[in-house]
């Protein structure tokens, strides 16, 4: 088992390497002079030259690559062109809100969706089941920004229960302020994941409920709640966990939009700002960072299978 874990961790190295090569080439293979592209339409010749110098674009490509990889290995993702701050610093500054938003979203989604999907499966065909499925379809169909503004309009502006936007850190401003500010973005972002996870839970649990061992559990005299929790859900876990993992990966895209809607100073905002400013080092750094997170999540999901199902052994 330990060997498998080590193997899997080692296997992520080449994947990260490939990502790094792509990210490196992204800038270099763009048509025209990358420095001019970055500098924009109104730049002077000196501006372009300065940027070219700063990015080392006047050196041969292999030398550039070696230097870049060398820096990467030391944890140096480069320096932002416009703020002149190290990219790692920028990411670190913005990490907390995004991380907490992602965590609260996925937690909220799982806590709501798994019971909902399980009950829907248990009472398949009932009114409750249909309601859950209706919500699920609606959840898929409404875009994040539309839903965000509706929620702001109703809960923040109309009822005035929650602040309209902004972010408060739980470490500096207190947990209550944090929760009040994170509530709306969390709800907005989690709707689609609730829809996704509830659907998968329902399908997976419904299938498991047909299995013989569910009948065995009932034949033992087990009550329905335990049958659902201990036998059905436990056996239905692998596809549910898979879809939660996919959900976390998709979250990266959702975060960008949500953070803009609620004006949260997180990585999503950083992405947006960097793209608008064509700050390539930041974009590269973020792509690498998100790829790393993505690979890490996939690794964790794969490893969780072995805990969830004893038949899966590597």
């Amino acid at each position: 088992m330990l060997r498998y874990v080590l193997m899997r961790i080692l296997a992520t190295v080449p994947v990260m390497g490939v990502v790094a090569v792509f990210v490196f080439l992204m800038l270099r293979l763009a048509p025209g002079d990358p420095a001019a592209v970055i500098a924009g339409d109104y730049a002077t010749a000196e501006d372009v030259a300065r940027i070219r110098e700063q990015l080392g674009l006047n050196q041969p490509i292999p030398v550039q690559f070696a230097k870049w990889i060398g820096a990467l290995l030391q944890g140096d993702l480069g320096t932002s062109i416009f703020t002149n701050l190290p990219v790692t610093t920028l990411i670190a500054q913005r990490l907390e809100p995004t991380l907490l938003l992602a965590l609260s979203t996925i937690t909220f989604a799982v806590v709501v969706a798994v019971p909902l999907g399980t009950i829907a499966a248990w009472r398949a065909g009932s009114l409750l089941d249909r309601f859950v499925m209706l919500f699920s379809v609606a959840g898929f169909s409404v875009p994040v920004f539309v839903l965000g503004y509706i929620l702001i309009y109703v809960l923040a502006m109309g009822l005035q229960w929650l602040p309209v936007q902004g972010y408060k850190s739980p470490f500096e401003d207190g947990v209550l302020a944090f929760l009040r500010h994170i509530a709306l973005p969390t709800m907005t972002l989690s709707v689609i994941f609730i829809a996704l996870i509830a659907r998968m839970t329902r399908a997976s649990v419904m299938e498991v409920l047909e299995e013989d061992y569910i009948r065995t559990a009932r034949a033992k005299g087990q009550n329905e709640l335990r049958v659902l929790l201990r036998h059905a859900l436990r056996n239905a876990a692998v596809p549910i966990v898979t879809v939660i993992g996919i959900g976390i990966a998709l979250l990266i895209g959702g975060v960008v939009v949500t953070e803009s809607v609620y004006n949260i100073p997180g990585l999503g905002r950083l992405v947006l700002d960097a793209v608008l400013a064509r700050d390539y080092p930041i974009i590269q750094g973020l792509i690498l960072f998100f790829s790393f997170v993505y690979i890490l999540i996939n690794l964790l999901i794969d490893l969780s299978y072995t805990l969830l199902d004893p038949r899966i052994r590597y």
Binding site: D212, A219, G221, N235
Partner: protein, 545 residues
């Protein structure tokens, strides 16, 4: 344990006039009708019947495990230790299940949760019904596991079902059912999915436990061999009704109802009939040193290799039926699949007409495929449900250049050969019964005008009465088309009736081969002897005449 009724002479289970409706749109109104039977303490009562007889509905209604909306009891009573439980609220039923009555099922693999340790699954019963602490529970579980002769209970306690053999899993199920020493054990075809040798052991176990604990057992089976082994009393059911019941010895030897007589008459005998000596015939298929290895060595030496077939040789002549007999994992189905090249073989030769099929690549193989056709075990899954029977039958011949009209003409002809109306070609598989579907599968195979027909457990999923008819059909088409038939089966009775020669496989090897009569009369290999000894009902009336 207080089993008052055991002393008082009240039956453990008494069913009176039980009638259960089927949902609307079913082929009949009642799943079971006016069923009455009783199980005394220390008594094994077998309900025998074919599929659709209502035997399982009866058992599940007693346990209260039927979906009440679809299978609604409308009349009668079910008394457990004298108390009517038919209309008890679910809460009360839960208390009885596991404690006063327990059940074991057909498929021991799927009946256990794959993600829970088997010990914990047994302990769950104690958790539900007793106040015992974890340590006492553990002790009781280990005791129950020893009671069903599971080896190394301490170690197996922490195993998962997939790590156990089929027989061990069924022992776990029995331990689970009996850990609280219920007065009634319901066993729903508990040995049907097991190999014969394992089946014999499990039957022995059920008998010995039942004797020791004085449990009343309601045993559901379709197999008269099993009935002969285990039953004190027999209840024969047909289409939801009890047609006959009485002491086992009586019902088995002097069946009164014609249906019972027909059922018992359909059980193939273990004594091979006289078969005409066969002269020299043309060789249809020759297999030389066939090997099939599954799995591969892993990157880091962690691979797993299974030798599914090892140096298998066989020769099959036209007009001959060769039986390949063995238990699960013996390699018999692997051999069939290799010969048809559904799986690629590891090494060896498969010769038809001097052409070595093993060497051909997929494209070159195609023209030769028609020479070997196969009929599979499960007629429900081997026909495409969305195509008409006719479409399924003519597809093959049309691939080989027949026009649609010619192919249809041949299909109509073949439908008559297999005993179905040619008009049935326009219908879909779900409109046919299991036996009819298997006839269609045979017609489909014959449409290719093969030289070799492989029947891979082709009658194993069928009821005995239907089985007998399909066996007759197979024998008839063999004669009519001078076919070479490779008959793969785990069922020695069937093999005895239809095969000219028998080949016994064990762990991927052929351990014995010879004329059927010889193999059955004087088996030379130890494994063959064990296999024969395990056949249920071999010492009973079934072999008397």
């Amino acid at each position: 344990m207080s089993h008052d009724s055991r002393a008082a002479g009240v039956p453990v289970l008494e069913i009176r006039g039980l009638t259960v409706t089927l949902p609307e749109g079913a082929d009949r109104k009642y799943a079971i009708e006016e069923v009455s039977l009783s199980v005394g303490a220390g008594e094994i009562v077998c309900i025998v019947g074919e599929s659709g007889s209502g035997k399982s509905v009866t058992a599940f209604t007693v346990m209260g495990l039927t979906p009440r909306k679809e299978l609604k009891p409308v009349a009668g009573e079910i008394r457990l230790h004298g108390r009517d439980i038919l209309n008890l609220p679910e809460r009360e039923m839960r208390r009885l299940r596991g404690e006063k009555m327990a059940m074991i099922f057909q498929e021991p693999m799927t009946a256990l949760s794959p993600v829970m340790k088997v010990g914990d699954q047994i302990a769950e019963v104690l958790e539900i019904h007793t106040e015992l602490g974890p340590r006492e529970r553990r002790e009781r579980v280990l005791e129950a596991m020893r009671d069903v002769n599971l080896p190394e209970p301490e170690r197996l306690y922490h195993s998962y079902p997939h790590q156990l053999s089929g027989g061990q899993r069924q022992r776990v199920m029995i331990a689970m059912a009996l850990v609280l020493d219920p007065g009634l054990l319901i066993a729903d075809e508990p040995t049907t999915a097991l190999d014969v040798t394992t089946q014999a052991q499990i039957l022995e176990l059920v008998k010995s436990i039942q004797r020791r604990h004085g449990t009343g057992v309601l045993f559901i089976t379709h197999d008269f061999g099993v009935v002969a082994e285990i039953a004190h009393r027999v209840v024969v059911m047909r289409e939801g009704r009890v047609v006959e019941q009485g002491p086992a010895a009586e019902v088995l030897t002097r069946p009164e109802h014609p249906y019972t007589r027909m059922l018992i008459g359909s059980v193939p005998s273990l004594t091979p009939p006289e078969r005409p000596a066969r002269g020299e015939a043309e060789t249809a298929l020759e297999v030389r040193r066939l090997n099939k290895v599954y799995g591969h060595a892993g990157w880091f030496g962690g691979g797993r290799v299974v030798h599914a077939a090892k140096d298998v040789d066989l020769t099959l002549c036209r007009g001959e039926t060769l039986g390949v007999v063995g238990e699960s994992g013996s390699g018999k189905s692997t051999v069939a699949r290799c010969i048809v090249r559904l799986v690629d073989i590891t090494s060896g030769e498969i010769l038809i007409d001097g052409v070595d099929l093993a060497k051909l690549r997929q494209g070159e193989l195609r023209p030769h495929r028609r020479h070997i056709q196969i009929v599979f075990q499960d007629p429900y899954r081997s026909l495409n449900p969305r195509r008409t029977v006719g479409q399924s039958i003519i597809e093959g011949p049309m691939n080989f250049g027949l026009s649609r009209e010619e192919a249809l003409e041949r299909a109509r002809e073949l439908m008559r050969v297999v005993g179905l109306a040619p008009e049935a070609l326009d219908r879909f598989p779900h409109q046919f019964s299991g036996g009819q579907r298997q006839r269609i599968c045979i017609a489909r195979a014959l449409a290719m005008e093969p030289r070799v027909l492989i029947a891979d457990e082709a009658v194993s999923a069928l009821d005995v009465s239907v089985q007998a008819q399909v066996l007759d059909l197979l024998d008839e088409v063999r004669r009519r088309f001078d076919l070479a038939v490779l008959f793969i089966t785990h069922d020695l009775r069937v093999a005895a009736q239809i095969c000219d020669r028998i080949m016994v496989m064990w762990h991927g090897r052929v351990v014995e081969q010879g004329p059927t009569a010889r193999v059955f009369r004087e088996p030379s290999h130890d494994y063959t002897r064990r296999l024969l000894a395990a056949a249920p009902g071999r010492d009973s009336f079934l072999e008397a005449g």
